[in-house]
């Protein structure tokens, strides 16, 4: 780890003043579960590390009539312990429990889960976010079993967030504070495809801080997340599907189907959403939706199995949601 200057601001304003307008100069420290590893590998070599856990306004989870407000530094453990999350947002609870290490859940924050960097092993070995050597991605001809089946241009890594698919399916937004004030993004807009090895995969400026996540009320919304993981102990999901379904009688009024760990950003499965509308959630319909969700997948030479896994994940998430009250 390269030496750095450490700051422990207690107000958002103070923290914003410590950030840099260039990537790489300063890093925001919350749970640290990703950042410290990145720094130990010299993937990140910030000159300054700004701990934001001392900023009270960034913490906590509150339930209001309008929905759920999750502070960026609320931990995954707080999320799983929240009664409101358990009852109204099972998909979020399931997604957080998918991080099957209690230690990570105690340390890792919701904001950090969204802002963590990809686990692509070429990235982690120092080949940049696009995993390139001499301007060419190492992924298509390399070891790509965990990589994207929905690659975008030269980006083959997969978004690593456990919570993003659920948050997107639930219609959540993130609030972002910056030098010029605050802004809001839908969670799906937070993730972008980097155009070069120097670019980032988040729609955040280097001097902005993600401050909170706002999830609309999910009353009446059946929701579930299904992860395919090889291990029950701490392990990265191979694929994730999260669904949020509004019913009208026994048929689907509207559906959100989002896939995780399949592309450089979470993938909203529009075709499956459309296909589901007006149908009842039977085994056959769920299977069909799984197929639609993977329309257009472009697997690499070593990861076609993820297409199958994602189909199954969509099917199982839908059937799980169908069982849920809501």
């Amino acid at each position: 780890m390269q030496a750095f200057e450490y700051a422990n601001p207690t107000s958002l304003k103070e923290a914003l003043g410590m950030l840099s307008s260039q990537w790489g100069e300063a890093d925001i420290l919350a749970g640290g579960t990703d950042l410290l590893s990145l720094m130990k590998e010299y993937i990140h070599t910030p000159k300054r590390v700004i701990n934001i856990k001392g900023i009270k306004e960034l913490g906590g989870i509150t339930k209001t009539a309008a929905g759920l407000r999750i502070g960026a530094t609320a931990t995954l453990d707080e999320l799983t312990e929240s009664a409101a999350v358990r009852t109204e947002y099972p998909s979020l609870h399931q997604a957080a429990m998918g991080v099957s290490s209690p230690q990570i859940r105690n340390m890792g924050t919701v904001g950090g889960d969204l802002c963590q960097r990809p686990r692509c092993w070429y990235f982690r070995q120092g080949y940049g976010i696009l995993g390139q050597e001499k301007g060419k991605s190492l992924v298509p001809d390399g070891e790509n079993r965990y990589h994207a089946i929905f690659p975008k241009s030269q980006a083959y890594f997969v978004n690593a967030s456990s919570l993003a698919p659920a948050l997107i399916a639930l219609g959540a937004k993130v609030k972002i504070a910056g030098p010029n004030g605050n802004r809001e993004l839908r969670v799906e807009e937070l993730f972008v495809v980097p155009s070069s090895n120097a670019a980032r995969e988040l729609a955040l400026a280097p001097n902005e801080i993600l401050t909170e996540i706002v999830v609309p009320s999910a009353r009446g919304v059946k929701n579930a997340t299904y992860e395919v993981r090889q291990k029950e102990a701490l392990d990265w999901p191979l694929v994730t599907a999260s669904v949020a379904i509004r019913m009208k009688g026994s048929s689907v009024a509207s559906a959100k189907v989002v896939l995780g760990h399949v592309g450089p950003t979470p993938v909203v499965a529009t075709a499956a959403e459309q296909m589901l509308t007006g149908k009842s959630l039977t085994q056959d319909v769920a299977t069909e939706a799984g197929k639609s969700a993977l329309d257009g997948a472009q697997p690499l030479n070593g990861n076609a199995y993820k297409v199958q896994l994602a189909r199954v994940a969509v099917k199982r998430a839908l059937l799980e949601a169908a069982k849920a009250r809501g």
């Binding site: 200057e5 450490y6 422990n8 640290g32 410290l36 590998e41 070599t45 590390v49």
Partner: protein
């Protein structure tokens, strides 16, 4: 881990952003690289409390470990685990993966199990840290430690302190776990010798023993 060393030089000097002077402005910290304690303790507390910037050189860090306050001088980049192992000779927690995966470094901070390899020592200040050395009174071992022996939940023993701490975190939260809850509670720890069968039994046995003790 070794990287492409030919690339490193480019990364070394700060390119814009902060000037080195900017680093130290307002805090009075000099760049003394090694072991040179710069700030008085009070100053450091004041500086940290005010959210000011410290480092990158060694800074005074105050850690409350097993109920005792330890004052050391370490750089902000030193982890809680390394501070304990290299500066305080508290070596029960082990450094194995050093990347927050294996759980051998597990400690309890404010009642929650954490990977101490992935927490900065400066960031652990103000917390009640518990390590394997501090879970039992000197006279009698913790029921978990005893249960690990009874059930042979250890071989080489290098993962064992981490497992005991993870199990303690679990039982603190859930004194009567089911078998499945025990398995899930140990989801953040790995063993290479393959002692899980004994470990799982040990946690259930300790849960029973601890409840018995409470009722008595």
């Amino acid at each position: 881990m070794s990287k492409h060393h030919d690339e490193l030089d480019e990364k070394a000097p700060p390119k814009g952003g902060f000037s080195r002077r900017g680093f130290f402005r307002g805090v009075g910290v000099t760049s003394g690289a090694l072991g040179s304690a710069i700030l008085g303790e009070q100053e450091a507390d004041a500086a940290q409390a005010a959210g000011a910037k410290i480092g990158p050189g060694a800074v005074p860090v105050s850690l409350n470990i097993n109920g005792k306050v330890h004052n050391i001088n370490v750089e902000p980049r030193v982890t809680l685990l390394d501070a304990c192992r290299n500066h305080l000779d508290i070596t029960g927690a082990k450094r194995v993966c050093d990347r927050g995966t294996c759980g051998a470094c597990t400690m309890i901070a404010n009642g929650k199990v954490i990977y101490s390899c992935t927490v900065l020592a400066v960031d652990a200040q103000g917390k009640q840290i518990q390590t394997i050395e501090g879970i039992a009174a000197a006279a009698r071992p913790h029921p978990l430690s005893t249960a690990f022996v009874n059930n042979d939940g250890q071989q080489c023993g290098y993962c064992t302190p981490g497992f005991v701490m993870a199990a303690k975190g679990l039982l603190d939260k859930n004194p009567s776990p089911t078998y499945d809850q025990v398995k899930a509670g140990l989801g953040g720890n790995l063993c290479r010798c393959g002692t899980y069968v004994g470990v799982r039994k040990a946690v259930l046995e300790a849960a029973k023993a601890m409840k018995g003790a409470k009722n008595a």
